[in-house]
Symmetry: C2
Subunit: 227 residues, 2 copies
C-alpha cells in the first residue's frame, strides 16, 4: 500500500546540503505493523511526512495505494490524506482555538460524516484515550500528554487505512503509554496498517517489522526481534 522508490528529501544546497532522506526504497503492505527507529535527527519525521503526503520528495517516486502521489493535484492529495491516512504529529499540531472534542471532529467534517455521528465517534475516541473529562478544554488548558492523546484520538477517528504516528507516547507516563499501545494493537488486529516512529522499546516491541534509519538512509529492515 506504500511504496517508496529511491525517495530523497534534501534541504539547502552545496556545502549546506542536508540529506534528510537519502534514496530510500521501502515497501509496506496492507495490514503491516512497522516501527521506525533511529537517532535524533536521522530523518524519521521527514520520512513520515513524505509517507503522509505532507511533503514531496525532491527525487524518487512514491506510490500510495498504487497511485503515483507526485502526479496528483493538491486537492486530490488532500482528499486522499483525509480518507486514507491518520497522522499523529510529533508536535501534535492541534488547532488552538478549538476544544479537544472539536479538534477530533474536524477530520470527520471533511470526510462528510453526519453531525450526530461525528460527535458520538469523537466522544468515543476521546473516551478511549482517557479524556472524557476534558472534552471542552482547549489545548492551552491541557497538559502535554493530554494534548498528545487528543492528537491520537483525532488520527484514529476517521478509521484510516494507514495510521502514521510520530512518537505517539513521547509525553506519556507508562500507564497512559500502555493504553495507547493497546489501542494501536487493537486497530492493527482489525486490519489497519500501522507505522509508528518511536524511541521507546515498549512501543516498538508490538510491531512486526522494525525499520532503522540513520543519516537519512535505510540502515536495516527486518522482523521485530522478540526481546
Amino acid at each position: 500500500v506504500i511504496q517508496l522508490e529511491q525517495v530523497s528529501r534534501v534541504y539547502g544546497q552545496g556545502e549546506a546540503l542536508i540529506r534528510a532522506c537519502d534514496r530510500i526504497d521501502l515497501s509496506i503492505y496492507p495490514g503491516e505493523y512497522c516501527a521506525i527507529m533511529g537517532q535524533s535527527g536521522s530523518g524519521k519525521s521527514t520520512l513520515m511526512n513524505l509517507i503522509g503526503c505532507l511533503d514531496r520528495p525532491t527525487s524518487g517516486r512514491y506510490l500510495l495505494d498504487g497511485m503515483d502521489v507526485s502526479r496528483l493535484s493538491k486537492t486530490r492529495l488532500a482528499r486522499i490524506r483525509n480518507r486514507k491516512l491518520g497522522f499523529v504529529f510529533q508536535r501534535y499540531e492541534l488547532l488552538p482555538n478549538l476544544t479537544a472534542l472539536e479538534n477530533v471532529i474536524v477530520p470527520m467534517m471533511y470526510a462528510g460524516v453526519g453531525r450526530s455521528r461525528r460527535r458520538r465517534r469523537a466522544e468515543y475516541a476521546l473516551q478511549r484515550v482517557g479524556l472524557s473529562d476534558r472534552l471542552h478544554k482547549r489545548p492551552g488548558q491541557l497538559s502535554g500528554g493530554q494534548q498528545q492523546r487528543v492528537a491520537i484520538a483525532r488520527a484514529i477517528v476517521n478509521r484510516p487505512l494507514v495510521l502514521l504516528a510520530d512518537e505517539p507516547t513521547g509525553a506519556l507516563d507508562t500507564q497512559s503509554a500502555k493504553t495507547i499501545v493497546e489501542i494501536f494493537d487493537h486497530l492493527h488486529a482489525s486490519g489497519m496498517t500501522v507505522i509508528v516512529v518511536t524511541h521507546a522499546q515498549e512501543v516498538a516491541c508490538y510491531s512486526k517489522r522494525t525499520i532503522m534509519i540513520s543519516d537519512g538512509r535505510l540502515l536495516s529492515d527486518h522482523l521485530t526481534s522478540v526481546a
Copy 2:
C-alpha cells in the same frame, strides 16, 4: 533553596474547578537531585512552572532562596529567574526566528555576559548536546529532538543555581537521552540543584529523591530506590 508551603494552583470555579496543584508542601535543599513523576495530567508541569516563577500559586507561599516570591515585582522576579533558574520547557519554547546559537545566547545577554564570552559559551553548550553542526539553523529546520537539545543547552548556559527540566528526553533516542542524563549528572556533581520531571526510568534513576504527584497532590516523597 526551594520551599513550597500549602501551594495550590486552581483553574476555573464551581463545578469546573480544576486543582492542577493542591496544597503542596515541598522543601528542596541546595545541591539536591529530584525526579518528579506522575501520570499525564497529574500536575507536574504546573508544579514546575510555580517553582520556576513562571506562574503564581492561587494560594500558599513560595520561598525561593529565602525570599517570598509572591511579594516580588515582575521585574525583580524576571531577574531572579534569569540569574538563578534554568528551565527546559516540555514544549521547548524556542524563539522561532532565531538560530539555535542565538536562542542559546539570549539568556546570557540578559545576564550581562560579554559578547565574545557568550558566543563561546553558547557554542560549547551546543557542542555538549551534540549540535555543533546545527548552530545556524532555526527551530523550523531542526528535528524534534534537536529542538529539545537546543532548549537544554539554553537552560544550562547561564550556570543557574537550579536547573528545572520538564521531560527533557521526551523526544530523544536512547543514545541522545544518555548524553543529556550524563550532562545533568555532571552539573549536579558540580553543585547544581537539579529538578527533573520525567516519565523515563532511565532518567529518574540518576536522581537521589523521587517525588510522586497524583491529581495535583503530593503522593510520596522518598529516596530514589536503586532498581
